[in-house]
Symmetry: C2
Subunit: 343 residues, 2 copies
Amino acid sequence: MPAIADVARLAGVSKATASRALSGRGYVAAETRRRVQAAAAQIGFIASPDAASLVTGRTKNVGVVIPFVNRWFFGEVLEGIERALLAAGYDLTLYNLAPVGPERDRVFDFFLARKRVDAVVAVGVDLTDREVAVIARREKPIIALGGTAPGAPRLAIDDHAAAALATEHLLRLGHTRIAHLAGAGAGAAARSVQGQRRAGFLQTMSEAGLAPRGGVESVVVESEMSLPGGYSAALQLLGHPGDRPTALFAASDEVAFGAMRAAERLGIPMPSDLSIIGIDGHEYAELFGLTTIEQYPGEQGRLAVEAVLHLLGEGDEADPLPASGAPLATRLVVRSSTTAAPR
Amino acid sequence: MPAIADVARLAGVSKATASRALSGRGYVAAETRRRVQAAAAQIGFIASPDAASLVTGRTKNVGVVIPFVNRWFFGEVLEGIERALLAAGYDLTLYNLAPVGPERDRVFDFFLARKRVDAVVAVGVDLTDREVAVIARREKPIIALGGTAPGAPRLAIDDHAAAALATEHLLRLGHTRIAHLAGAGAGAAARSVQGQRRAGFLQTMSEAGLAPRGGVESVVVESEMSLPGGYSAALQLLGHPGDRPTALFAASDEVAFGAMRAAERLGIPMPSDLSIIGIDGHEYAELFGLTTIEQYPGEQGRLAVEAVLHLLGEGDEADPLPASGAPLATRLVVRSSTTAAPR
DNA sequence: TGGTCAGCCGGAACCGGTTCCAGACTCCAC
DNA sequence: GTGGAGTCTGGAACCGGTTCCGGCTGACCA
């Protein structure tokens, strides 16, 4: 493997000049630069990022911690992040993190504590103070996308508002018996995505004078944030023909798909007897006619990278942190899965 | 950030001894090792992998190139790979690669040509000779999972046999008018996954004396390997009530789901008038009652990592390359989407 | 008693870049 | 002519580890 010393020798200059010529930092005569570049190309020299990062402290590599790659939302985010990082010449090191477990500690205490990444993007995880501290001690910026990281910049949609919007859509259609398929843990973790969506739903219902009789349990069922999760939760919820809701607000489109499947199996005609709305704007939503609150995870990933690069001092220092503070975009898209309440 | 020199000073030994004590290579007295480890723990020393890899040439990092992360198969593979690498103390650098495009050259010529990864796992891509050469020149092993890489070890199911198995299942049920929803490009790239499945289907049909009248086009329709892809391909295929097939072999479960959706929309009763079989063993297959040829992508990812680690000389050198040569496991799982042909 | 050798440790070189610093040279202003 | 700023270059230090090599010790054996 050719090293920079070989390039320097071939071009008849010192290592220092060769380095300057190739990196573009410092004074180098145009003609010298040309000669060095030609020499590098001739022997196929490619700089070792390890050697460079050893002295500069920059690795040109960002870590992404993400709980799933196979849920639609997370997959899209990951693709968006990857595309943006690649374009900026950065590598992406993936840490696929089960929400809780021994591996999680290992990732933070071993993998992320080393100096292998310049920054961390945490997608859909709620980081503990300790975890944030591990990374902050290394003076590496963190960006939270979706989840939360105490003290770190956060990019997210307004989940509370999105849930309110979905609920209002059903209310406007005349529904009064509306149930919510909440993400698992929504009741426990108030600040989580699931918790916010649940809270947005409950508040909107109660503002409409539709506070649940018989407790919250009667209209909120928790489900895994997946299609099978939605399926079994919906089966449970719709199993009793007597007091069946006329509309369902699912915490994600995948949950909504599961609910649609369950309703189908139970022989409940849709949307005449049951309206369903989700959140996400899933790739399949159009095909299944699902009304949903769209969000744009690929774009969100891109924005997260933009923010990270900004914190790393790439690009124009003067620019403000992009999209800081303001919640990310959402949009209500009405399709055939929701209709006026039956009389 | 504490360096190893700080640890050495605190423990009252030389850098060399500190390094030996912490890495476990070479002679170090038990008592000395204990002292060094205590010193390291006390000041929170964590070795910089960059510095180590600079001299050892090993990065403890493997690159994964993968065309999608958001198709079920690929997501599962990625999770399997990540889990296994993490357990072995390796990092995973992700290169999400559009099947073709300028980014692809950039990944190979810039990112992978550097010395940042010890090995490459190529999932579901067909690498060109040139691309393999770029990596081989750096003496880094490549493992192909699913796709192909000329000259590199390959892990894959026998796609031809899997397709034959699926087709035979339909034949045994008495179907004679069977169509195949092939993956895009199946006709062009014979060695690709889609091509092999298509070939397995055609050969089995022809061996059963069911060579297509009116050309292959009459019974093979190409579709994107996704749910919407299967949907539109199936709409096209099932649109003419006259000569409609009684059974469909879809190149993947996601395609099959799309076809099921299309049949539903067209009002074709399933499975009485239309049997559908897929390939994959998708997470949702059970819920939708889809008969399929299961494969185990998570496990496949694990096996790929095992092979990579073997090539890198980790673990027992003596062991043979795991699962080399033999095709990976598949299994026919019969559910409600396939039934006897209507008379 | 002397020699061999395993165990243990430290000095120094080294990996492959980047950057500091000093020196040389040019150009221009005073 | 002198001074200074600006441009260009090379030597050497440096980043943070690993490893080679040689020296020292003590046990064991002839």
